[in-house]
């Protein structure tokens, strides 16, 4: 049986599935139930400074995007950090940690960008027995207008400075949570490392407006006729999050910096993918908010079955396994040639591949009187669009051509050797192949 236990920067948990700092981790009641359901750890809902807590709107705080069958694909929120007193949160955290010593409990913190504010809160967090802290430099709405959250996360110098204070006044692991609302994610990650961070976590939510009410002309969620941009999360943001994770994993300046992967993780498979891109563990928010805590059972059973099938004994066995295969476009092998192939036994004759290819691609699928759809190898550029629009998984596949055979589209032989754009004759800046 695969060993799912996780050791993330020295923080141990029975599995790599943590709940991200958000409503699921907002209070003792939730966190106890999450632990009972099987979650390996939680990042507690972000704490603010001592004093009167922030206030949330009293109207709707979420908007959403749905797929077929009203399956929730993207969620947007205008919620702030915890709106409960600091003292209450700290007491609850201490109680929960004492009762669940084997689970990870991380404090998420967001206080003003002043040394005194951090110096004040860190010892109090340490007293709870929490296993580490996560610096919320990501919240894109409300808090950023007050000079916190994404407002800090968008300025690498601030990140480095605050991280350094935290390392100075707190002796357990410091995780820096990054905002995706920035052009180059490598810069804040480098800043975190320079400040001494033990790890980064990403992504927080993405600036978004999910919909506009065409009767009232208000963005949704609408508060008395007005809306504000919110933070976007859920399955829709997974590709963006994975790209950002991979950039940090590949960047020589941050390579090896532990990463906690967040963003759209909904199934065991999503989690496994983040881990292969270099994440030591993962955090989940929207999937739990959509389906409840129980999904962790599927995540655990699925990941452990897959690990058994692949012979991975521990998370470390495949952590980062896909990173060496993430490269720049210019290094992709232009001599690799594939053709689409339609399995006629699986085909349900919907014709979607035909419409897609005929209207918007390379006119490389033929349709017969009896609705047989076939690939025309002379035209197919192997773009994969037909595969992506086909409703039957595995019905259309991309089959690589053997070196030495002739590509009927170009009438040129398939070359066995690797050759990329940097040496391609059409590239004005081409260097001679070595």
């Amino acid at each position: 049986m695969a060993d799912l236990t996780s050791d993330f920067v020295g923080i141990k948990s029975p599995n790599p599935f943590w709940l991200a700092s958000a409503p699921p981790t907002d209070k003792e009641y939730n966190v106890r139930r999450a632990f009972e359901a099987g979650w390996g750890g939680v990042v507690w809902k972000t704490l603010g400074a001592e004093g009167p807590p922030v206030v949330n709107v009293n109207g709707p705080r979420y908007g959403a995007i749905w797929g077929a069958d009203r399956r929730l694909l993207g969620l947007n929120n205008i919620e702030l950090i915890t709106d409960r007193p600091l003292e209450t949160n700290l007491e609850e955290m201490a109680r929960v940690k004492a009762d669940y010593p084997d689970r990870a409990l991380i404090a998420s913190i967001m206080v003003p960008c002043e040394e005194a504010a951090w110096k004040a809160i860190l010892p109090r967090v340490a007293e709870t027995g929490a296993d580490g802290i996560e610096l919320n430099f990501g919240c894109p709405h409300g808090m950023s207008e007050r000079g916190m959250g994404a407002a800090v996360g968008q300025v690498p110098e601030y990140i480095e400075m605050v991280t350094r204070w935290c390392k100075q006044y707190y002796d357990k692991p410091v995780i820096v949570k990054l905002t995706p609302n920035i052009t180059d994610i490598r810069k804040p990650a480098e800043a975190a490392r320079n400040g001494g961070a033990d790890a980064v976590s990403l992504i927080n939510t993405i600036n978004s407006i999910t919909s506009v009410n065409l009767d009232t002309m208000s963005p949704e969620p609408s508060i008395d006729g007005k809306g504000s941009h919110g933070g976007y999360c859920g399955p829709a943001v997974k590709p963006i999050a994975m790209s950002m994770v991979s950039e940090i994993a590949r960047n020589p300046a941050t390579h090896g910096l532990p990463i906690s992967g967040i963003g759209g993780i909904t199934t065991w498979r999503d989690a496994a993918e983040f881990i292969t891109l270099g994440c030591g563990n993962v955090q989940v928010c929207t999937a739990a908010m959509t389906y409840g805590f129980k999904i962790v059972e599927e995540m655990i059973s699925g990941l452990s079955q897959w690990m058994d099938e692949k012979g991975h004994e521990s998370i470390a066995d495949f952590c980062g396994a896909a990173v060496p295969n993430v490269t720049d476009w210019q290094y992709l092998n232009l001599n690799y040639i594939a053709k689409a192939e339609i399995n006629q036994d699986d085909c349900i004759k919907c014709g979607r591949c035909y419409a897609a290819c005929e209207d918007t691609s390379h006119q490389a699928i033929s349709m017969s009187e009896d609705r047989t759809f076939e690939v025309i190898d002379e035209e197919c550029v192997a773009c994969n669009l037909c595969v992506n629009v086909c409703p039957v998984e595995g019905c259309i596949t991309m089959v690589p051509m053997e070196p030495g055979t002739t590509d009927p589209r170009t009438n040129r032989p398939v070359e066995p050797n690797y050759a990329n754009w940097t040496s391609h004759p059409n590239n004005p800046a081409a260097k001679a192949a070595e």
Partner: protein, 443 residues
């Protein structure tokens, strides 16, 4: 041969081998991978899902469907089999239309439930096809348990006990295991020898010894079993059949539906199995429908089910009634048998038409018949049993009988519907209680 549906009398070979193999093919052909993914996608992953509550074995249905949709049907199978070790058979024979699928929120909303039974079959078949038995025996406890009856109740009980490390001996009067899974379930619900294959797979847990040809009441007694074993579980089902109690009941051609079905299930070659031209089945439950439909599939020309009450009271579900109708079986309601006519062999059967309160209306019905099947309920058939509650062995929720150290479950025990899935639940729960009693362990 050369017989056809029109040949009078009880004869074999009314249908060609091809027609028979078509007719008796899988009632619900299994889902392929694509169909399973599409079906699984429809599940809403309801909280505290109504389907789970409706399942007598409390399978975590939303979880197993999610496991299918995330590409791990093997994990889904473990979820199912952990609650219901005969989840493969249940997926085939459960009247899901009156259990899990009846309360599916999508049945309620759209009249189209998630295909829970079919998805369950997809998952369990996937794992069983790989020959994987997903459970391991706990260390031996040194305790021994006798299980009488190798039907669903006995098998579920034996498996759970073996898993907990007890040594189990299963005794059955017949020469094969499975109980009604092997001898009773309609042939088109369990094709390709699935009942035996499932038992073989189940026994891979180890620690279960099977002894056939041992009849409780004749070869075995409660006293002897009690002195030899630390605990006893009775899962002997209902071996007897109610009599019609009318004139002519003993004429040749009149027999029990369950015997006809058992012959059919055991027949090597259906072209050699005789059936009447005009068949009348008395009863209104699943057995009546199964006997009628299978008689029709064998090539009987006219098959009629005669039920004594109205359509709304018929125990066979709407789905079963429609199935019968679709195969050309006629169902007559409010007809109570009065006499069987014929000279040695049955030729006609006569009914009184009755009103809703069962009083005769004065109208009668005579149907030509060369074969009549009794399907009016089964009864307990053994001596030396613990105290009864009406027609069945009296048990507590945990399956305890009036005799210390003796448990019972399945059709022979009081409480619950007479269904495969209920028998599994009762066998499993009794095993847990036996385990707790023998070891002091808390579940």
């Amino acid at each position: 041969m050369g017989h056809s549906p029109f040949t009078p009398g009880v004869v074999a070979g009314r249908q060609t081998a091809e027609a028979l193999s078509d007719g008796f093919a899988d009632l619900h052909p299994p889902l392929d991978d694509h169909e399973a993914l599409v079906a699984a996608d429809r599940c809403y992953f309801c909280h505290d899902a109504p389907c789970m509550t409706a399942c007598p074995t409390d399978i975590d249905i939303p979880l197993f469907i999610r496991q299918i949709s995330t590409g791990t049907p093997e994990a889904a199978a473990r979820t199912i089999l952990g609650q219901n070790i005969l989840g493969g058979m249940c997926a085939r024979v459960c009247p899901t239309e009156t259990l899990c699928e009846e309360v599916c929120v999508r049945e309620v909303a759209e009249g189209k439930p998630v295909e829970i039974g079919q998805l369950q079959r997809y998952a369990t078949d996937t794992l069983q096809r790989q020959g994987v038995h997903p459970f391991e025996r706990a260390a031996s406890t040194g305790k021994t348990v006798a299980v009488v009856g190798a039907g669903p109740a006995g098998l579920a009980c034996a498996h759970r006990l073996a898993m907990h490390g007890h040594d189990v001996v299963v005794f059955d009067a017949r020469s094969k295991p499975g109980g009604l899974n092997e001898y009773g379930i309609a042939a088109y619900k369990s094709v390709d020898g699935f009942a035996q294959a499932e038992v073989e797979w189940l026994l891979k847990i180890g620690g279960i010894e099977m002894q056939y040809g041992k009849r409780f009441g004749a070869d075995l007694s409660l006293e002897a079993l009690k002195s030899e074993f630390d605990a006893v579980f009775l899962g002997i089902g209902l071996g007897g059949v109610n009599a019609l109690g009318i004139d002519g009941d003993d004429k040749s051609g009149v027999r029990d539906a369950v015997d006809f079905i058992a012959d059919l299930r055991q027949a090597g070659d259906l072209t050699e199995l005789p059936v009447g031209r005009d068949v009348v089945v008395i009863g209104g439950g699943m057995t009546a429908v199964d006997a009628a439909v299978q008689a029709k599939l064998l090539g009987a020309l006219n098959v009629t089910i005669a039920y004594r009450r109205g359509k709304d009271r018929m125990p066979a579900s709407e789905f079963e009634q429609d199935l019968a109708a679709s195969k050309g079986v006629r169902i007559v309601f409010n007809a109570v048998p009065k006499a069987v006519h014929g000279n040695g062999a049955v030729r006609e059967i006569e009914f009184d038409y009755v009103s809703a309160d069962m009083t005769p209306t004065g109208e009668t019905l005579r149907l030509p018949a060369d074969q009549v099947f009794r399907a009016i309920g089964q009864t307990l058939d053994a001596d030396g049993l613990p105290e009864l509650d009406g027609r069945k062995i009296k048990v507590t929720d945990a399956g305890r009988t009036s005799v210390d150290g003796v448990w019972a479950g399945g059709d022979c025990a009081s409480g619950g519907d007479d269904l495969t899935v209920t028998a599994v639940a009762e066998g499993r729960d009794a095993a847990e209680d036996i385990h707790q009693t023998l070891t002091g362990a808390v579940r």
